[in-house]
Symmetry: C2
Amino acid sequence: MTTRRNKQPTIIDIAEVAGVSKSTVARALSGSPHIGEKTRERVLTAVRALGYERNHLAHSLRSGKTGLIGLVIPDIANPFWAEVARGAQDAAAASGASLLIFSSDWDPEREAHHLRALRQARVDGAIVNPVADNVDGLGRFGLPVVLIGSSAERFPELSSVGSDIAQGVALGLDHLASLDHHRPALLVGSANRLARVRFMRVVHDYCIGHDIDPATLVIEEGSYTVESGRAAMLRLLERDPKAARCVFAANDLMALGALLAVREAGLRCPNDVSILGFDGIPAAAFSDPGLTTIEKPARAIGVEGMHLLAETIEGKLEHRRVLLDCALTSRGSLAHNSDLGPTRLMAVGSN
Amino acid sequence: MTTRRNKQPTIIDIAEVAGVSKSTVARALSGSPHIGEKTRERVLTAVRALGYERNHLAHSLRSGKTGLIGLVIPDIANPFWAEVARGAQDAAAASGASLLIFSSDWDPEREAHHLRALRQARVDGAIVNPVADNVDGLGRFGLPVVLIGSSAERFPELSSVGSDIAQGVALGLDHLASLDHHRPALLVGSANRLARVRFMRVVHDYCIGHDIDPATLVIEEGSYTVESGRAAMLRLLERDPKAARCVFAANDLMALGALLAVREAGLRCPNDVSILGFDGIPAAAFSDPGLTTIEKPARAIGVEGMHLLAETIEGKLEHRRVLLDCALTSRGSLAHNSDLGPTRLMAVGSN
DNA sequence: GTGAAAGCGCTAACAG
DNA sequence: CTGTTAGCGCTTTCAC
């Protein structure tokens, strides 16, 4: 086959064809007002004729702006982060930027490596979910950054966007209360996880604000997986069947596990036990019953992250922390508690 | 003596500090053998001292290689494509390349737009899942491309990697046969979708090879969504309860929908009806029972795509079509058919 | 309005 | 081995 390997045309080529200088071409291409209408037409015609496309590299090198944005997340294959990426992607595309996506795999070393790569690629800025206590890596980044996810609170000097866990938890607890479940059992992560601490702090505050003694709450521990949720639910069922009437899980995977356990125990959801999840993963829609859950605004986080970053890059913004609302997605895993008495008794008794 | 400390250091800065010329610095940095051990040390020391990091843009502009790879997929938020991206990501990282990921949203226009953006970014090559009959767009791309996904067969002149649908379908049908289900009902997409045609062709060939009259197969149509799968299953149950003993869905979402329908109809899976899916989406693990499915090698497709592309870029490879094997993931949705007779009768009768 | 010229930071001949 | 000299393709003064 005949392979025409002509190099791509440059502004010099089109300058020649249009019979002008390359600076004139540059002006025409950048929409400068200091150029004659007729000249511009001639240049544009040549551009079309040669199929010219601007070399981004040269443009970036000279102008100092690459139109590249870095996105560092734990795992692109994780539905939540994929949604975040999708949002960032959309927002980036809308502003003509391209996204360089990297997975840190929760590894501080990889994160540092990626940050370095982004700096070398001369990205205009980056959106990152800081993985571990990589304060140094981020502090030295030297480029506009916006943090996403909840670990952002460890870097108070950087702009960030995340979901409003407090609002989400309150939303869930309020909704449960409206179904007459006032003391749901809690399925949370292991004590050393920051997420667990944060979740519990919010629950604690809510209880204080609603005249509930936090000490009366029944808590089971899992590790954010389906299997751990299943095991935790089984334990709960054995330990305190009455408290198990209603369960609020700190993430959907554990909630789904709890659902499995309920069925295994010969009980039914929501008739025997109500389950509320937290996250809003797609799989929650396919269980039976569908899992009612507090949905984090994943895509919006990506979109808003890009907006914050854009403002940061333009210097319009000194610092901001954006918290996006979670929303309740009702499916079938919650029922009204028609038998409140025993639950109350249990809560008091287990004190 | 103009020392600009506010900007990132360049090789000129480090040349000054090390007391050599910038070409020597470049040589030291690129690990050239034509340089003295002592000089190299001196340069490297200066590099560390100034915290120098090579400017990728300038490097790329000069060398003609950007180390950028484009990935164009329909949707990064779709679990399957997210996995593909993850694989490509890993392979790219391993070879020091960065990925520019774009979502085409199944829109030929957006795809064309992204292809243009990639060309302008001077990526070294691209991996794309061609969306529509965008033959022109791809033909004119002018850069090394590797196609992924099954629509690749429309571009026989380009290298591609995809899952071996024929092998996957045969795997499923064989497995069902081993459970004594010889004529599963088929839940497929709508007739105008390429995927449906491909799926059915493979089933057809399999039947011919196994002395089964394809015309005796019971087929229901959906549109690759949970809801459509549910509706299709309900129809099937009403139309031909006996054929509904075993269902092979063309994708997991429809299979999950079928599962819902079975339960709604007061039947149980797998005891009353066995269901086999196709895809291997994560959600298939959380249903009850877990969905047994034919899993496409999503991540491997990404990895292999990157490898193929690398070879294509290096010119080592003229053309190749790689088909990766699907695998059976057994969960609980399949049971042995202990009552073969009626099924056979039904198949013949419905002819 | 338009052109000439000077780089952005780096690589790659070609001399010494 | 090392320095000198050209650029890669584009933007951007600064003259005219």
